[in-house]
Subunit: 320 residues, 2 copies
């Protein structure tokens, strides 16, 4: 059997055909044009899915189900997108609309949960029964996999690990709380920290690499400048690792997952990030890696942007 | 069928006979005398259990299983207590030792997990499929129930919610981390906060109620003094509620459990504590209580000290 996964984003709709081993066989995407009525957008999603099936020379009978991953708050049971800020969706009946065009089971979940499912089942945490995937981007996306399934709480809104306060009375977060992990360990937060260091130390390489304009500082800049020996950048990076490690250690003390997967642009720092993190985490957590009490492994995400599509398709694996 | 639950503490061993509805029919306890060899302690536990069965006029054939709850780190699968600081236990084969005396299935789990199982299945969260039980005592005990079962991670060490850092670089915790929730919201932390306020404001009722000696300040003192109009006590209590609320809100954003149960001495403040907490939590979390997205309910624990015994017995309900 085959599965369709659709990643509904604010800019593009990406869809893919996935086989029963979770391999992405082909994919395709179109602009979302989010100003349109939701019916048009969902019709396009159905047509994109149908196109993939036809291009693969398959019949609809070969497709087990369609999964949709979208940012925002899903009603997983009823296949309704309760709320999506970016698309302006409110109580959009995703399942019903898609089924008007394609007579298949339709599953819906949060995009971060889909990414976690993909990394957990066929990606970096393949083989682990439990995993947590953290995506360090504009915000912190997160998903929790327990017994090979998405854990989303009794109201499907759980696993918002970025909105765990790690600094009482700290930085205001986009969610309205103060001191959320996301406000310290997202790419956005790192950029803010690097810009503040550049402002305080104009002689820093942070500013040189940004051609003198702090607005050009990206999440990669402090890592690059630190690698070239800039002490200000090095201290930004060290401080950032500390923030990252506190949240990761919290997640271990809370979930003790077999694997924690780190994704997003910052995770591309790869081994240097993982080992800096590993060192800090080992100091913070209870569990010392041993036969009697194995410790959580930290790994870099492997599926990249495909995680959303693959995970959406995998929703059909775990709910049937 | 009937079940035996045994709560192994540093001071006493308490055992109880529980029916298939989770009702505690009779209980009994003896001193632990923890300086003894573990074999003697475990033999006593088996004899205590046997005594309960005989006193109830039952035969061993009527007993489905024995459950043991103990502080420390259990190897749930093999029934071995890997580590118990207070009793000085290391890799103690609880199951094997008890089975030398009683030919019954023996289950083992952490005492906080047992309490959470009891409150979750037959206590304050009865009927909920997911719940988190928080015990505000010397430390913060916690257990997570998902799908009517204890969640304890791949290595049985999960759900240490008290050791989630809520204040980066804050108070040193007993676990070695800085800024753990336990260091701000346990009864021990509240007493420390109240004593500091009494030292800073010797005119406070905090000191009067403690007969002038800060050492007499308990976790109840600030609540009593605040109720009598003392402004210093009131501000200790308000600050404490803020700390408590940040951790509870984190737990909601992470788990979205149907119910959070609060136990331990401080929870006996009852409705006044729950409503102060509810007000703060509602400001912090995403989920606004609605039909489409119901919010977690906060409740006071109902089983008191029996939670440990009942929960240990219930281990036999969920693992068979």
């Amino acid at each position: 059997m085959y599965y369709i996964g659709i990643d509904l984003g604010g800019t593009n709709i990406a869809a893919g055909l996935v086989d029963s081993c979770g391999r992405l066989l082909r994919k395709s995407s179109i602009p979302t044009q989010k100003e349109r009525h939701y019916r048009e957008i969902l019709t396009d999603m159905a047509l994109l899915a149908r196109g993939l099936v036809e291009e693969a020379g398959l019949s609809l009978a070969a497709i087990q189900s369609i999964g949709v991953g979208a940012p925002g708050t899903p009603d997983v049971k009823n296949g309704v997108l309760i709320y999506n800020n970016n698309l302006g969706f409110k109580n959009v009946p995703v399942r019903t609309e898609i089924q008007k065009h394609l007579p298949l089971p339709v599953h819906l979940d949060n995009d971060a949960n889909c990414a976690a499912l993909a990394e957990g089942l066929v990606g970096a945490a393949k083989g682990a029964s439990s995993s947590v995937t953290i995506t360090l981007g504009t915000g912190i996306g997160s998903g929790v996999i327990i017994n090979h399934q998405v854990y989303s709480g009794f109201n499907y809104a759980a696993a918002e690990l970025g909105h765990m306060v790690i600094k009482f009375d700290g930085q205001v977060c986009t969610c309205g709380r103060r001191g959320c992990w996301e406000a310290y360990a997202s790419a956005t937060a790192l950029i803010r920290q690097a810009r503040a260091a550049a402002a305080a130390h104009p002689e820093s390489l942070l500013l040189t690499l940004a051609e003198g304009d702090p607005a050009n500082i990206t999440a990669k800049t402090p890592f690059d400048a630190a690698r070239q020996g800039d002490p200000f950048a090095a201290s930004v990076v060290e401080q950032y690792f500390d923030y990252l490690a506190v949240g990761v250690s919290n997640i271990i003390n809370i979930f003790q997952p077999e694997v924690i997967v780190l994704g997003g642009g910052i995770a591309q720092q790869g081994e240097s990030l993982l080992s800096a993190l590993q060192k800090r985490v080992a100091r913070e957590i209870y569990t010392k890696d041993s036969e009697a009490m194995p410790a959580t492994q930290l790994k870099e995400a492997v599926l990249g942007n495909d995680a959303g599509i693959v995970g959406a398709a995998l929703l059909g694996f775990t709910t049937e």
